[in-house]
Symmetry: C2
Subunit: 366 residues, 2 copies
């Protein structure tokens, strides 16, 4: 079933006549149109790209002329954003949305995304508005067949980056340079430039902390490495994390900690299935890790799709149930001052009866 | 003078009591806070980061907790975006903006940016709104002393990328891989990950077209290369373009075309000065290029700052005047099927009496 059809079904449930999608991730989910995001909002846009979907399965897209023409199951208006002349992008954007609203006959109750719906087009649409953030997040969490293929490929691109990371993490190499080469490997594999989240952090002191930026540190023999790679490929995100010791020969204490995280990941692979409650699964993973003497101060994982973090997040109070064809990142880790940090992360697809790893890569610390 | 003080002056001119900045570029311009843009809107945000500036020079910032704490001349509220629990980011965002509005006493006439002002906070602010897009763009075009330093460094990072491009553009190398290594060089130099615009295109057929994506093409001896590098460093953009022949030995026809673009760039350097009308300058450059037998189907250049393309754009109908401390990209080029393409682009700072190249790099085609 196409996502436009699925959206139409959701709209019927929440009583919306039309949906106006304005998040780059939701636009891609609905239409397949990939909004360029790598430099933030385009300087040639007059506002966020808009996808309009009707309950009858009709769809329209309003985007700047700098990224129109991708083609898809929608009517497109590509307004003048870039021109060899002075132009008013906001006016062009508003005119294009207004045109689309008239062409498609958009009226009645309008479902909107609260975090991205722009003020600039509010007066062009009916004032009867229904927030769709929660039902849309739930709909997006379950992937259709085409999306399963896209997610699997994005996971494979991340896995290829992980292989490259092991080759390039050698004494004397520079953290930032290795990271760049890993990213380059993934972009060559996908034959496209990728938006990119993640981190590549080395050394005992740095890996035992969370959230540090990549820098120019020189890698040393025996360094722990935390390599978290998340590329966006054709609008869909891969994600992954491996941890290892440069040159192998992990100290016993690090190996023990590593095995705790790895066995927690293995537990997740064996236990994840449709119908399981997210908070129960999260508690099971945390308890397993705790039983081995470690814990992690973050989520156990998260959904992923056209956004790198999406519903459901694997946190202690999430009561949603897992469903078939959700893609779930599982990422137990441990971060101990003086010893270093690590995280073991695979992408899992929830199958009809269990779960499978979307794109395995080497998961050992030496 | 700080940009907050300059903004306060602008507000007095347009009759605004407060300015609510919501573009990532404008937030950085006003406060120095660098909004992460590399993966588009953060999945942990409830809406665009907001900077509030008062006519008295007071300033406030509302951002998700994932990028708070950068420090600057403003009061900050970092709302819960990322948490190890289920959380409603939109509600948190709205609450934080509402709190900031009360703390600062925001009322009266509110200046807004039309292309980014979010519907989600419209009801939290006075309904008397003044679009500030045009005056803000004009204000941002002229840099203060701190910005001159930031722009110059960003230009130097781009120039270092250009040097690297000449080293790496050898027969057998892969376009995407070379691009990745160039980017890596710039990120190592800036010791930070950079958002990145630009292109690295090779071969006669590909360089004679505009707007192609980088791909896995294998570079050949004698290929023309168009290397356009634009990194964002600490919130400010560098930009640059060089063109050259792999292995040197440019064909006479290419060399002739190259010299036309280069002499147009040299003319721009000698002619650019405060008080000159943009359209007159644009016409002068186009006429010079035309006189040598070539033309380009795009702008002659553009302003640059916290956005990679900003006011003024060098197009035939822009009647604004150049002012001291504008940073202007100048980029004459030519694209001829069967011969290839090229573009020669430097960043210029408008000085009190003329213009200077911010960060020169080798500008020859062989």
């Amino acid at each position: 079933m196409t996502n436009i059809t699925r959206l139409a079904g959701m709209m019927a449930e929440i009583g919306a006549d039309w949906a106006v999608l304005t998040g780059a991730d939701s636009v891609c989910f609905a239409t397949g149109h990939v909004v360029p995001i790598e430099i933030g909002q385009s300087p040639f846009s007059g506002g966020p790209t808009v996808a309009v979907v009707g309950r009858d399965g009709s769809a329209g897209l309003v985007c700047p002329n700098t990224d129109g023409g991708q083609g898809g199951p929608y009517e497109e208006i590509a307004y003048t954003g870039f021109a060899n002349a002075v132009t008013d992008q906001v006016a062009n954007y508003r005119a294009a949305v207004s045109d689309m609203v008239k062409r498609m006959g958009v009226s009645g109750a309008i479902a909107i995304e609260q975090s991205s719906f722009p003020y600039a087009i509010a007066d062009l649409l009916s004032e009867k508005r229904i927030p769709m953030d929660v039902p849309l997040a739930r709909l997006r969490a379950v992937k259709n067949d085409a999306e399963v293929g896209l997610m699997t490929f994005a996971a494979k691109v991340a896995a290829a980056g992980q292989d490259e990371a092991r080759h390039l993490s050698v004494p004397g190499a520079c953290e930032m340079d290795v990271f760049g080469r890993i990213r380059s490997k993934m972009e060559v594999m996908s034959n496209s430039r990728c938006a990119f989240a993640g981190e590549y952090i080395t050394g005992v002191e740095r890996t035992s902390q969370l959230g540090l930026p990549i820098n120019d540190r020189s890698i040393e023999l025996g360094d722990p490495v935390v390599c978290d790679l998340a590329p966006r490929v054709a609008g869909y995100w891969g994600d992954s994390c491996s941890s290892f010791i440069v040159g192998g020969n992990a100290p016993d204490k690090y190996l023990h900690m590593y095995n705790a995280a790895k066995s927690t990941l293995e537990l997740a692979i064996s236990e994840l299935r449709p119908g399981l409650k997210v908070c129960d699964f999260d508690a099971q993973l945390r308890a397993h890790m705790k039983g081995l003497g470690y814990d992690y101060p973050h989520h156990s994982g998260h959904g992923i799709g056209t956004s790198v973090h999406e519903f459901p997040r694997l946190v202690p109070d999430e009561t949603a149930l897992f469903e078939e064809n959700m893609f779930i990142m599982i990422e137990p880790g441990s971060y101990v001052p003086g010893l270093g940090g690590l995280r073991c992360e695979y992408m899992l697809r929830v199958t009809a009866t269990g779960a499978e790893v979307s794109a395995p890569f080497e998961m050992s610390c030496q």
